[in-house]
């Protein structure tokens, strides 16, 4: 299981420092990113008000940990989903509601400024295919943050869907491990897709209109250990795939 107690004191302090710095500078970068998505990219979230109301209700309604699990089509999905769930004003009031992310380290390892940006944007980088010890450390960090009321976002397929559709066979078991380690953990399933998004890409198109659906679950498994974690991960991916089917059915 992910275990926040395994973190060293300096690792905990580093995370809290990152949160503090990010929060301190958020009045600058939160409106800037929101404006960039709205005015520069001209993205729009269909039904944003209802989505944000629902997310605020989930955040306020319980102290139980909340993990956001979403489908994954572009490198900027976490931006779009965070924006769909709350505006800059909301996150300035409830900074814990802005989800931590675990992006692929190689995507921004080549530039100092990208690394700074990732740090500010509440990211804990992970190397895909890294040894399990490194992955476990990242999961422990996320568990630590979630146990303190922070939200986190993980893409349970582990990478962008190569077929453009949720890949039920590609399940990152770490998601289940994280959920199983946090008593009462709720999982907010998110299916987000732009109208013009045919398959996977680096960024959504300019002027894209996103449709987002939500479903909140508390996945559990009777199995223990690895099998239990994998079972929970599969439940999550299966439900996101069902949301995808509904998404396409609605548009036929």
């Amino acid at each position: 299981m992910a275990d926040a107690t395994l973190l060293k004191p300096q690792e905990r302090r580093a995370l809290l420092r990152q949160r503090w710095l990010s929060r301190l500078l958020s009045p600058l970068w939160l409106p800037a990113f929101t404006a960039a998505m709205y005015a520069v990219m001209r993205w729009r979230i269909v039904g944003a008000r209802a989505l944000r109301r629902e997310y605020a209700r989930l955040r306020a309604g319980s102290d139980a940990p909340l993990l956001i699990c979403a489908n994954h089509l572009t490198m900027l999905d976490s931006f779009v989903i965070s924006w769909a769930l709350g505006g800059a004003g909301y996150y300035l009031r409830d900074f814990g509601g802005l989800a931590w992310n675990t992006p692929e380290r190689r995507n921004f390892a080549d530039s100092f400024w990208k690394r700074v940006l990732a740090y500010m944007l509440k990211c804990i980088p992970v190397t895909r295919g890294a040894n399990r010890g490194e992955v476990a450390l990242v999961l422990n960090k996320v568990a630590f943050l979630m146990s303190r009321g922070e939200t986190a976002m993980i893409f349970p397929e582990g990478r962008r869907s190569r077929s453009g559709r949720v890949d039920r066979t590609n399940v990152a078991y770490g998601v289940g491990r994280l959920v199983s380690s946090l008593p009462g953990c709720r999982v907010l399933l998110v299916y987000a897709r732009g109208e013009g998004q045919q398959d996977w890409s680096d960024t959504p198109a300019r002027g894209e209109r996103f449709h987002v659906t939500l479903r909140c679950i508390e996945p559990k498994s009777d199995a223990r250990g690895l099998r239990g974690s994998l079972d929970v991960s599969r439940q999550i991916v299966t439900q996101i795939a069902e949301m995808e089917e509904a998404w396409f059915d609605d548009r036929q």
């Binding site: 299981m1 275990d3 078991y173 250990g225 690895l226």
Partner: protein
Amino acid sequence: METSEIQGRVLKILTPYVKDNSALENAGAETNILEDMKVNSARLVDVVLAFEDEFDIEIADEDVDSVNTVGDCVTLISEKLS
């Protein structure tokens, strides 16, 4: 159970997941499963679950964190069997 026998069965389980067959042919205790054999990290859990079935043992989440090489697998399984 002899270490060599465990290693043989471990390699047999790994075979369908290995993308670099030359690493499999020359595999030893030091062979890294992800880096040398190019096993997909997401599939590593399936491999460990196959160990559970093959050796009738139970492996905890935390145990997987220490599995990097073929030798790690053999050590872990030996510990569980004993």
